[in-house]
């Protein structure tokens, strides 16, 4: 038997560390998987649909918007009928699904296939397994998001006939990184579920449940909690301000809110604050653009928080995985 058939796994031709070998194999598995193709198609349709509606609306308003700063980036953030949400909002809503899809069976999948004991008895460290899988998941998610965003940008450029400036491309790239960070939170959480829950289906349900809680009830919970911690006193206007401030702060516990704020500031150069603004603060203010650095600075805490949440959740997955029994 010498014929060399098409294979999905051809080894490295030079030595790599264990996690890289695992990440490479996982990446190859993902890219041929049905879930990858399904998510790519789904997001592709969403992306083209939203950007088509947005571009049509922007074209109709062309005379009025001719001088709008960052018109190109509006493609991503403008909502226009008949599509109910903008691309950014859609992606913010669907990004957790990406993370969950490539993480929920990371470890328990190896367990249920019985490949884990074989894998960890190879000359690799045990954390190579979870690290490699996380890297592979994040890479595949990054690939999907980049492909879809480039697709959306391409459709927009063709329809609007405007070419993005270097600054706009840079904003888009940083926003892509923020999106991958946000997906990283969910990938880490799904990986955590795959470590502590033996069944892949239970792990997926657990991840999806948490996502729905944050996506649907996050703002409601923040509102209720703000009412408890900082109640509004009818006679005292300052208490209303404090209550609103508390609500904004509490809402930021949710990675979804952190990501939405980051998107807002990164894709709209005229957004000057993602927090609470009083009328006094914007009264008489001249609309002006922030530079890229200023926009990044504005949401730097959000970006760092997203990274920190990812790292913390990943640590919660990592530690029990290192101590778990290997046997099935």
């Amino acid at each position: 038997m010498t014929a060399n058939p098409e294979t999905t796994f051809t080894p490295w031709t030079r030595k790599r560390s264990g996690w890289a070998i695992i990440a490479r194999k996982e990446f190859a598995d993902h890219i041929l998987s049905i879930r990858f193709i399904a998510l790519l198609v789904l997001l592709g349709l969403v992306g083209v649909g939203t950007v088509y509606a947005a571009a049509t609306a922007l074209k109709d308003a062309a005379p009025a918007t001719a001088n709008t700063p960052g018109l190109f980036l509006r493609l991503f953030s403008v909502q226009a009928d008949p599509v109910p949400l903008s691309f950014v909002t859609f992606l913010g809503f669907l990004a957790p699904v990406l993370g969950i899809a490539f993480g929920f069976d990371a470890i328990n999948g190896e367990r249920s296939q019985g490949t884990l004991p074989r894998l960890v008895s190879q000359p690799i460290h045990r954390d190579d397994v979870i690290n490699g899988k996380f890297v592979a998941g994040l890479s595949i998610v990054g690939l999907i998001i980049t492909v879809i965003s480039v697709l959306v940008a391409g459709v927009g450029i063709v329809m609007l006939g405007i070419v993005p400036s270097a600054g706009q491309v840079a904003r888009l790239l940083i926003w892509l990184i923020a999106t991958v960070l946000y997906v990283g939170v969910w990938l880490a959480f799904a990986t955590f579920c795959s470590v502590i829950v033996r069944r892949a289906s239970t792990s997926a349900l657990l991840s999806i449940a948490l996502w729905l809680v944050f996506a649907l009830f996050g703002s409601l919970l923040a509102h209720l909690a703000a009412g408890v911690f900082s109640p509004i006193d009818q006679g005292n206007p300052e208490s209303a301000y404090n209550n609103a401030q508390a609500e904004v702060t509490l809402a930021r516990v949710s990675p979804t809110v952190l990501y939405q704020e980051s998107s807002l500031a990164l894709l709209n150069s005229d957004v000057r604050s993602v927090g609470l603004i009083t009328y006094e603060q914007i009264d008489q203010a001249l609309p002006s653009e922030l530079s890229l650095t200023q926009s990044v600075l504005l949401v730097w805490p959000q970006l760092v928080s997203l990274l920190a949440i990812t790292v913390v959740i990943f640590a919660f997955a990592y530690v029990p995985f290192m101590h778990q029994e290997v046997r099935a």
């Binding site: 796994f9 296939q113 046997r327």
Partner: protein, 321 residues
């Protein structure tokens, strides 16, 4: 070979206890190059726990392990580089072909192409899977998986091979193929092979030495002959089937040997286990014939390993209980 005596796996006083249970209770083992050593014991005796400790995948609660002269907890990679491990209930990536699964293992072991490709071809031929190498593992039978597992173990060309229940749940033909391959690993290639099983005939077939493992302890160790002899303790054990009642048997045996020397246990279906002083079977047989009892069957249990095995389990269960 890491050591002059050729001992590649060595455990002394190895213990593993969990919160409320002792899984492995101070065992000693030594397996040399070129030898197949069998750990024989019922499920739950602690065999897999012992194996995981030898591999450094579970931390021992006490005792020492040396695999290839190294402590697996301190030098995990060096140990795992020279030990091939076939877990029980081996799993493969179902969507990948047999060859792809082996390539992955090769990559993890830093066996690089083109060497990896040649070695994988050779191994697939050795285990007789050349034809099926490019089918998805999902289509493989259990016996094929087990043989692919053996190829997988050998991809890293290990000096030490540890097989956990290599012949469980596969058909008799598959068992014979596995046994032949396991023999080759030790006797032709000079590897040290440790295998665990709860099935005595299979251990007996392939192992040079064996240890009987019950409730976390090794209760006996040696070749099959040594084990049989050590249990005989100067008494003969027979299984007798009669067309007569236990009363008749007891009377005849007592007359022949004296009632304090005879033990009789019912074994069902008109048969009994008789333990008498070490005398030839003929004297009991002759006595029964003289008493006009029709003897349907009479077997010497001391020479049958499955009886030895069962007796060890019963005895240890009694002494440890």
């Amino acid at each position: 070979m890491s050591d002059e005596s050729g001992v590649l796996i060595e455990a002394t006083g190895l213990r593993k206890s969990y919160d409320n249970a002792v899984a492995v209770d101070g065992i000693d083992l030594a397996v040399s190059a070129g030898e197949v050593f069998g750990l024989l014991g019922p499920n739950g005796a602690g065999k897999t726990t012992t194996i995981l400790m030898l591999l450094g995948l579970t931390e021992p609660s006490g005792g020492e392990v040396r695999v290839g002269g190294l402590d697996p907890m301190r030098h995990p990679l060096a140990v795992k580089r020279q030990v091939g491990y076939l877990p029980d209930a081996i799993g493969f990536y179902e969507g990948l072909t047999g060859r792809e699964n082996l390539r992955y293992t090769a990559a993890l072991n830093e066996v690089l192409p083109p060497e990896a490709g040649d070695r994988i071809d050779d191994l697939l031929e050795l285990v007789g899977l050349t034809e099926e190498a490019d089918q998805a593992v999902g289509t493989y039978s259990r016996g094929m998986r087990q043989r692919l597992g053996l190829a997988d173990v050998l991809v890293k060309d290990p000096k030490i091979v540890i097989l956990d229940e290599p012949t469980a749940a596969i058909d008799p033909e598959g068992v014979a193929q596995m046994q032949q391959l396991i023999g080759l690993l030790a006797h032709r290639d000079g590897r040290a092979v440790l295998l665990s099983s709860h099935l005595l005939p299979q251990v007996q077939e392939v192992c040079d030495r064996m240890a009987i493992f019950v409730k976390g302890r090794i209760v006996a160790e040696g070749t099959a002959q040594e084990l049989g002899a050590s249990l005989a303790d100067g008494r003969a054990r027979f299984r007798i089937s009669l067309d007569a009642s236990e009363e008749v048997l007891r009377t005849v045996a007592n007359t022949q040997f004296g009632s304090d020397q005879v033990e009789i246990e019912a074994a069902g279906h008109g048969s009994w286990t008789v333990i008498v002083p070490s005398l030839s079977a003929q004297s009991l047989f002759a006595a029964l014939v003289n008493a006009n009892v029709e003897v349907r069957e009479m077997r010497d249990l001391n020479s049958e390993l499955d009886q030895i095995y069962r007796r060890y389990f019963r005895e240890s269960a009694e002494t440890l209980a």
